[in-house]
Amino acid sequence: MTIHQISIFLENKYGTLNEILSLLADADIRIIAATVADTAEFGIMRMIVSDPQKACTILKENNVSAYLSDVMAIVTDASADSLANVLKEFTKAGLNIEYMYCFSVKEKSILVVRTGNRESAREVVRRKNFSYISENDLINL
């Protein structure tokens, strides 16, 4: 029910991001979604890529600090309602959202979300029958 997200420590320095992206491009890894959470001095870039395990190995081989974590990727129909509904159900279950971001593929909007209490989050997804993306789907996105 979860997919792997790669997080990379980024310094606020000219050219850093470019180097990292080149490493992935050279390995034919596609970036499906990316977001950067930043402070004044550093940032963490979170990415959904076509092959997270391979991406992580390549980055580590090149001495880039990378971290794999589990996130949920819930498919919604790109309307505000649909997104609100997912969040409403999480809230009802008493889950707080640590972070989230969205991206679109093939007229679907995909909500990447990380909540507290992962087990109850899974339970909500199952009960409400939300559609989601699993790791095997990534390569075809």
Partner: protein, 432 residues
């Protein structure tokens, strides 16, 4: 020209050297009571009689900061602790702190030394002296306090920090003299201008004693101009009591080092041989007027040179030049002495961090600051709040250790320059 102690300050070189030899012999006899020196003297058959001239000084062993640490706390005490009345200690940088003991006579002599310096730059009992040094173990506090009191000045122990309060005291009490670190003097002046004060008109300040921090001639002139004062460079170190070891006179050309208190040598830090006259080397000092804890040929690690020629002020005591750096890796920041190893020790306690780090000293808004960049090990979170918390934790631990707050910056693994051979961990970009 008037002097605090005319006879001593203007003594002929010949008489001064005779006095030094006499006091050095007494010091050796006294130092022999200290377990540390007793051991060395016995091994090398050194007694007071080993010294007949100043040239014999080279028969005596050097003493280092390391010796003070290894014999912590009382291994260099030359009199019973019962006879000691004060102890000053460093913050305990790399391992044991260094301790300096004082008898009542030592404190009185130290106060006299400081009073002599202050009198030399024009202070009298009519002056109001405000000391912005930290008090407590830091010798700039009590050292100047007792010196100024001995001189008879009205003394305000304002201690460090709180700029608005400092300014209030300066205006309300009519402070005429400050003891202050140079970067803070500039800051103080800036705040005065910010709140619409004209220091030259709105204060009675006329003399500033600046020290405890490396600074340039340009910085001194700037302070003088901003505050409308004369600023004098002072030198002290806790191992040599503290402030008062050497001080500029009104000529502002070199610091007179009081040779009735210490014997001065300048040596090559590598060969430990004396350098040629006027050449730069490491300042080595022997106390000759201290009973609780005499130090023989103490290696200060400060690099300077003796200025040739006589001083127009009439004082015969030698002058040392502005310091040119250190022969070790000690950092002096805001009057605090610290070593990179202290920082390393703290950083290495965090498993989240890698081994590579870089310390940068820089001047920001006229204030000397320290930036520490340290590489992260593998990333262990995708939450930047966790990293911010880590940054805070490390900063707090560093502050506890260093007694000042550095700016800490996490760096990506492999992003800092790779160190080959002797690692250069410190970049000093301060505008001197």
């Amino acid at each position: 020209m008037t002097y605090w102690q005319k006879e001593i300050e203007t003594m002929s070189r010949d008489s001064l050297e005779k006095l030094q030899i006499k006091r050095l012999r007494e010091t050796i006899t006294l130092a022999n009571n200290a377990p540390f020196y007793n051991n060395i003297f016995r091994k090398n058959a050194i007694t007071a009689d080993s010294v007949r001239s100043l040239d014999d000084l080279k028969k005596l062993p050097f003493t280092t900061k390391e010796d003070l640490r290894n014999n912590y706390p009382f291994g260099l005490a030359a009199i019973p602790l019962q006879k000691c009345v004060r102890l000053h200690s460093s913050s305990g940088t790399t391992g044991n702190p260094t301790v300096v003991l004082h008898s009542a006579k030592d404190l009185d002599e130290w106060a006299n030394q400081v009073a002599r310096c202050m009198y030399m730059v024009g202070l009298r009992d009519t002056d109001i002296f405000q000391n912005t040094s930290g008090y407590g173990m830091f010798t700039g506090g009590l050292g100047f306090q007792y010196g100024a009191e001995k001189l008879g000045a009205l003394t305000v122990p304002a201690a460090a920090g709180n700029t608005r309060r400092q300014i209030k005291f300066i205006t309300d009490f009519g402070t005429t003299c400050l003891h202050i670190i140079p970067s803070y003097a500039t800051r103080l002046a800036e705040v005065m201008y910010e709140i619409g004060m004209e220091p030259k008109k709105d204060t009675r300040l006329k003399t500033i004693c600046i020290g405890a921090e490396p600074h340039s001639e340009e910085q001194r002139r700037r302070i003088e101009q901003l505050l409308g004062v004369k600023a004098y460079n002072c030198f002290g170190m806790s191992e040599m009591n503290g402030p008062g070891v050497a001080f500029e006179c009104t000529e502002q050309n070199g610091l007179h080092i009081w040779e009735d208190y210490v014997i001065v040598e300048i040596v090559d830090p590598d060969t430990l041989e004396p350098v040629a006259d006027g050449e730069t080397g490491e300042l080595v000092l022997t106390t000759i007027n201290r009973e609780a804890m005499p130090l023989i040929r103490y290696r200060t690690r400060d690099l300077t040179r003796l200025l040739p020629g006589d001083c127009a002020c009439g004082r015969t005591h030698k002058r040392i030049d502005r310091f040119k750096g250190r022969s070790d890796d000690m950092i002096i920041l805001k009057g605090v002495n610290l070593f990179p190893i202290q920082i390393e020790k703290i950083l290495m306690q965090f498993p989240e961090l890698g081994g590579n780090y870089l310390i940068t000293l820089e001047t920001i808004n006229n204030s000397d600051e320290m930036l520490i960049e340290v590489e992260l090990n593998d990333l262990y979170t995708d939450d930047y709040a966790v990293l911010q918390r880590l940054t805070k934790d490390i900063t707090r631990r560093l502050k506890d250790e260093l007694l000042l707050t550095p700016r800490l910056k996490l760096a990506a693994k492999g992003s800092l320059p790779v160190q080959e051979g002797k690692a250069v961990r410190v970049k000093d970009l301060r505008s001197l």
